[in-house]
Symmetry: C2
Subunit: 213 residues, 2 copies
DNA sequence: TTCGTATATTAACAATGTTCTATTAACGTT
DNA sequence: AACGTTAATAGAACATTGTTAATATACGAA
């Protein structure tokens, strides 16, 4: 273990401390509410030091989001032991809304902001998205849908797993993003979030499911 | 018609020309992509002149959105002659997605951005939201839901019009906002927007509708 | 020791939303 | 017609932002 390794380790530590400082600040004040200078102040470095580790502010925050979004895949995995694929889909939906609404700023950047234009080159994930929690979560959803199709849980006219996955995703994304953006609006007599989540999932699952004979 | 009136008219014209300049620019470059200076340049006034008519940039853009969102209520009204309340709800959903995705920047500010904190005081609409296109559209949706309930179109366990309206809104909002934010992402094998819209609405409507005997 | 590279900082740039201050123009009153 | 008040407008300036350029420092390799 030469001095190279030590430098690499120090560099990684620096990276982490930036990410951690940024994580705390973003979680409180949101993306726009935190400046690079604030992050730098927190770790007691100059603002420019950050640019030695991250290309720009958005790259930094996206990296952060990626890290934290791994937790979502983890939560999905925890549902793997649910036998009934429809129940598993229901659980995935609930977990998704819960995760998104408790990480509103992460969710906002990941799924409510257009992705950066041509910066995908420097992404640490391959094209297929293996290891990318964003695409991983979607892949798990689609896989579960395929299982449900195979198990004959859907009505026979529903055969397009991709379309079904996108349908289910759109639905939970609707509840999640609406809660994040408008959940505190008082002109609306909002029903509790959990109730809305269940109502939406109930409706769509009933609509998709094969009728019991 | 004294000179007071003339001044008021001129003032209103100035306001409109600001709004029109802003409308064009925002429609092309989006909220963040248009600076107050650019708007001022377009109408050939100084940037400060704008502040005599609008408190700040966001107020200006919100006013713009409000104006344009009247078109949505109009489209909803055009569906009033659809007899079957379920079909009307379906049409409302389709119109909503169509409208939102063709006015992405408007939609983003109205429904994908947290509302400003305590600026509601200067809102030209009353607390109930009468005349406010945002709340008007929701009111129309809820009213249609109530009609559908009365007509016995929903399954008997669905009696909460508010919850049903919020369910339907969440669903179409999901499709709309997902299209706006991620519709151009290529890592996903997106089905066409119209297909997704129909699939989501089909599923949820089937799930909510009373079974035919 | 000397050289080069990685790391860090200071200063600065360009753009932004917004405000301060001064100036001009219009209008009603006398 | 002259005057004072008020609204409208502009120019300069401020504070903040993300980011880059130029520069210094530390440390391993030769």
């Amino acid at each position: 273990m030469g001095p190279q390794d030590r430098r690499a380790r120090e560099r990684a530590q620096m990276r982490d401390s930036i990410l951690n400082a940024a994580r705390e600040l973003f979680a409180i004040h949101g993306y726009e509410g935190v400046s690079m200078r604030k992050i730098a102040e927190r770790i007691e470095y100059s603002p420019t030091a950050i640019y030695l580790h991250f290309a720009d502010k958005e790259t930094l925050f996206r990296e952060l989001c990626m890290q934290d979004f791994r937790l979502l895949s983890t939560e999905f995995s925890a549902l793997a032991n649910v036998a009934d694929p429809m129940q598993r889909l229901f659980g995935i939906g609930e977990a998704y809304v819960r995760f998104g609404t408790s990480h509103p700023f992460h969710y906002r950047l990941m799924f409510m902001t257009p992705p950066p234009v041509a910066k995908c080159d420097e992404s640490p994930y391959d094209k297929d998205g293996k290891g990318n929690p964003e695409t991983d979560a979607y892949a798990m959803l689609r896989w579960t849908v395929e299982e449900a199709i195979k198990a004959g849980a859907f009505r026979p006219e529903y055969t397009d797993a991709e379309l079904l996955a996108q349908t289910l995703w759109a639905v939970v994304h609707g509840v999640t993003s609406m809660q994040i953006s408008l959940g505190n609006d008082s002109w609306l007599a909002w029903r509790p979030l959990e109730q809305r989540t269940r109502a939406v999932l109930d409706a769509v699952m009933h609509g998709l499911a094969r009728r019991k004979e």
